[in-house]
């Protein structure tokens, strides 16, 4: 409780009879104000002859070690939560969200066809894939950027992550059912086109011969422009 002593003692200038009282008034004004207050504004509300600069200086010092600080914002003064405590003003809420059908399909294609580029995903799905869908999947941390395909434009290749396996309860990516199993389990019904093939997926970290490593700044910059502009989701 050392701070308590500091707080009750109003700085060195407590010799001036009104200084302590003026500080209290300034405190209350700053606390109650919806906007930061300028020094002149404060001066207008403080007792005659109060030394605004000194009051603000003393208050700043007084509150510096506390959970709330007196700070200067845009040339004016306001109380703000101490910056190191901003975490207490945030609350984490876990929100269960369901993936959209488009995201689910994109994820499935990435899982089976990895490493796969966005253009390839679009080719398989037959519709444009919006940037948002890929961003969202990246956010789930189920997919990752693997590298860049050695073709003109060097598109990014996507693959799944260990979190993907964990979430879907798979021991290895090869455990994803193949064509026959999908058929047997009733996922493929009716007339299965003869040209339908299901690849054996691989999420090996090692890049394929047709992949380049990611560029240094791929993780900090927009990866691809959203060339379609007419994402279907």
């Amino acid at each position: 409780m050392e701070e308590a002593v500091d707080m009750t003692e109003t700085a060195e200038n407590s010799r001036i009879p009104d200084h302590g009282e003026a500080m209290r008034i300034a405190e209350a004004l700053l606390f109650a104000s919806a906007e930061p207050l300028g020094a002149e504004e404060l001066a207008g509300r403080l007792p005659e002859g109060a030394d605004v600069e000194k009051i603000l200086e003393d208050l700043t010092g007084l509150y510096a070690p506390r959970g709330v600080n007196l700070v200067r914002v845009a040339g004016k003064w306001a109380f703000r939560t101490a910056s190191d405590l901003s975490f207490v003003l945030a609350r984490d809420v876990v929100e269960q969200r369901k993936l959209s059908r488009a995201a689910m399909e994109t994820l499935a294609i990435i899982a089976y066809h990895q490493p796969v580029t966005r253009a390839e995903i679009e080719e398989i799905r037959g519709v444009a894939t919006s940037k948002g869908t890929l961003d969202l999947l990246l956010e789930t941390s189920w997919i990752r950027l693997r590298g860049r395909r050695k073709v003109p434009g060097r598109p990014v290749t996507y693959g799944t992550t260990p979190q993907f396996l964990e979430h879907f309860g798979l021991d290895a990516i090869e455990d994803l059912p193949g064509l026959e199993e999908l058929k047997g389990a009733g996922f493929l019904e009716g007339r299965v086109p003869s040209d339908l093939s299901v690849p054996v997926p691989s999420d090996d970290d090692a890049l394929r011969p047709d992949e380049d490593p990611l560029d240094h700044d791929d993780l900090f910059q927009p990866l691809e422009m959203d060339q379609s502009g007419t994402g279907e989701e």
Binding site: A28, F31, A32, S33, A34, E35, A78, F79, R80, T81, L89, A90, R91, D92, V93, V94, E95, Q96, R97, K98, L99, R101, M104, E105, L107, A108, I109, A111, Y112, I124, R125, G126, E139, T140, W142, H167, F168, G169, L170, L176, P177, L182, A185, F187, L188, E189, R191, V192, P193, D195, L196, V198
Partner: protein, 266 residues
């Protein structure tokens, strides 16, 4: 306020200068009890030792004065006057042998008690009003820093969903070369059910379109949804359950439940 009382004299009332003690301003009073309380205060005695008889007389004089000045008096004041006149006569007459009714003394005491209770609560109201009011005398933080809710989205998806999505996607893509999409139609029955369910919660005009958006899973379904919903709406209008409005051609269609129908269900 009560209707003006019928007066026999048409002559304009004049304030008698000879009666300075009594200012007749019924607007300043919160009802007959308040008026009695004020009159009691003028007796300048403790409310415990108040003379109800004297009070009753003063009240009746006041009312007479008010009537003479043709002031509009609320029924409450007149009821109180009648009661006090009755009480006064009982107090003046010798007490009859013990009857079933409470004695005049008891009635007077009860009235005194009511006055003291009103006085007490009034005192309490005053004290309450004199407390520091938030937003008047004391203030909360002017610029609260609200807690930021960081939503950590956790996505849910099962392997079943994943496989279904994949198989469906692959099959659709390949089949689409040879087969046509099955046409999905929103049936009239579906539309009616949806409208009845939704309209149940509403009491004001709502555009039909806002309802429909919920059902627009696919853009291709828009025409069928619109058509079915509109015909369902019209049927409900025919049954007197809905009112429908369109401000101009191609403007949104507004619907509103008919109030009687809604209340009948409540």
């Amino acid at each position: 306020m009560a209707k003006p009382l019928p007066f026999e004299e048409a002559a304009p009332a004049e304030r008698a200068e000879s009666e300075p003690a009594l200012f007749v301003d019924v607007d300043g009073f919160e009802g007959p009890l308040d008026l009695l309380l004020e009159l009691a205060r003028r007796q300048k005695v403790d409310l415990h030792r108040i003379s109800i008889l004297a009070l009753a007389e003063q009240y009746l004089v006041f009312i007479e004065e008010a009537r003479r000045m043709r002031l509009e008096l609320a029924a409450d004041y007149l009821v109180m006057a009648a009661w006090l006149a009755y009480l006064k006569s009982r107090l003046l007459l010798p007490e009859p042998p013990k009857g079933e009714e409470p004695s005049a003394e008891e009635l007077a005491t009860a009235l005194a008690l009511r006055l003291r209770r009103l006085e007490a609560i009034r005192e309490a109201a005053k004290k309450l009003g004199e407390r520091t009011w938030l937003g008047r005398d004391i203030f909360a933080r002017g610029a609260p820093e609200p807690v930021v809710i960081r939503k950590d989205a956790r996505y849910e998806a099962s392997l079943y969903d994943l496989l279904k999505a994949y198989a469906h996607q692959r099959q659709i893509k390949l089949n689409s070369k040879v087969s046509l999409h099955k046409r999905t139609v929103w049936s009239l029955v579906d539309a009616r059910e949806a409208l009845e369910r939704l309209v149940g919660h509403l009491s004001d005009w709502v555009t039909l379109d806002t309802y429909l958006v919920e059902y627009m899973v696919e853009p291709a379904m828009r025409p069928t949804v619109l058509a079915s919903a509109l015909s369902a709406t019209l049927e409900m209008v025919r049954e007197g359950k809905l009112t429908v409005r369109q401000d101009e051609a191609f403007a949104p269609v507004w619907v509103k439940p008919v109030a009687d129908a809604a209340e009948a269900g409540a």
